[in-house]
């Protein structure tokens, strides 16, 4: 009887803790927010090497999600190619992450768009882990990180990117 009396408050305590814990569980649908750090994800590039995103820390980095079948992305690629040429001498890097499921189409698109910056692939469409981790809901989507790997802008304009690069020069 005495044992039972002691057991009930313990049970209550366990239940309350369980409820509190369940409230604290973070939503599964992660999404990068401004100020978040560059995710530590490894991808295959277009020459079959493994590349980790975090290896770009120390540079201003633009991560661009795209796909060969996405017409607005292909249009944006042209701009990015120019931006990369203009600022390649700066401490700036562009990384394209394709959500193409068809590797051949991806490689063809890289060649056709004459992309020279780093090209990685997560071949699972919008279900790709990296797309979920970044919170990509539409293509193209781009993410600008500063030299310490903090996210400073989502879908930045050319102006915003250039401003960041000029800011770093000073």
């Amino acid at each position: 009887m005495i044992q039972n009396k002691q057991f009930i408050p313990k049970l209550k305590c366990i239940l309350i803790t369980a409820v509190l814990l369940s409230i604290n569980v973070k939503p599964v649908n992660a999404q990068l927010l401004l100020g978040d750090t560059l995710p530590d994800i490894t991808f295959q590039n277009n020459t079959d090497s493994s590349i980790n995103l975090s290896s770009f820390k120390g540079k201003v980095l633009l991560v661009d999600f795209w796909a060969s079948w996405c017409a607005p992305c292909r249009k944006a690629n042209k701009k990015l190619v120019d931006l990369h040429k203009d600022y390649s001498s700066e401490n700036f890097e562009i990384v394209g992450i394709s959500l193409d499921t068809d590797r051949t189409k991806w490689l063809k698109a890289i060649a056709k768009d004459k992309i020279e910056y780093t090209q990685l692939i997560d071949p699972h469409g919008f279900d790709a882990k990296s797309a979920i981790q970044f919170g990509v809901e539409a293509l193209p989507s781009s993410y600008l990180f500063d030299t310490s790997g903090n996210l400073i802008a989502i879908n930045p304009t050319d102006q915003e990117i250039k401003k960041q690069l000029n800011h770093n020069k000073q």
Partner: protein
């Protein structure tokens, strides 16, 4: 002669009572101001329906292929609502339905599982097994196509009347 009519009516009644028109698949082309495949919104909206088993995106034809769970009935209007909720419009919707010896003919109406189907531009034939039908109604085709269809399908009195609840379908 009378016997012929009697037999014909009998087959028709039998066919009508056996009409199975459960939709197993819907192939949707969406239109809008932006690239419909470049947004995850339609995919998400369609997947949120309990009747939907899977959504496969065919990038060659820009089509959302919606596979529906067995033993469920879905009204194509619900699929349309979801696409519109995602901020797009239906460009075309072709549904795959299973039929069990259903005789269809031009301007014939069948009712099954809460759906009324009026067959347009359809030659008399018996449907048995799976058949594909394109929904011709307003909101299920592009605005431009609807304008054309309201002329070419004007011989079907129910076509342009809005609230009769029947879907006008053309067997593919």
């Amino acid at each position: 002669m009378n016997l012929k009519i009697f037999l014909f009516t009998l087959t028709l009644i039998l066919a009508l009572s056996n009409a199975e028109a459960q939709i197993s698949k819907a192939e949707i082309v969406a239109t809008g101001l932006t690239c419909s495949m470049c947004s995850n919104a339609i995919n998400k909206q369609l997947k949120s329906l309990t009747e939907v088993d899977s959504v496969i995106i065919d990038l060659n034809t820009n089509t959302f292929v919606v596979h529906l769970k067995k033993e469920t009935n879905i009204d194509p209007g619900i699929l349309k609502e979801k696409v519109e909720k995602a901020g797009f419009f239906i460009g075309s919707m072709i549904v795959t339905m299973s039929f069990e010896n259903v005789e269809v003919a031009d301007n014939i109406k069948i009712e099954k599982d809460g759906l009324s189907l009026v067959f347009v531009d359809t030659k008399t034939k018996v449907l048995n097994g799976e058949a594909k039908a394109k929904i011709m109604d307003k909101g299920f085709v592009t605005k431009k196509e609807f304008k054309k269809l309201s002329k070419s399908l004007s011989k079907y009195p129910t076509y342009t009347s809005d609230n009769d609840g029947a879907y006008h379908v053309k067997v593919m």
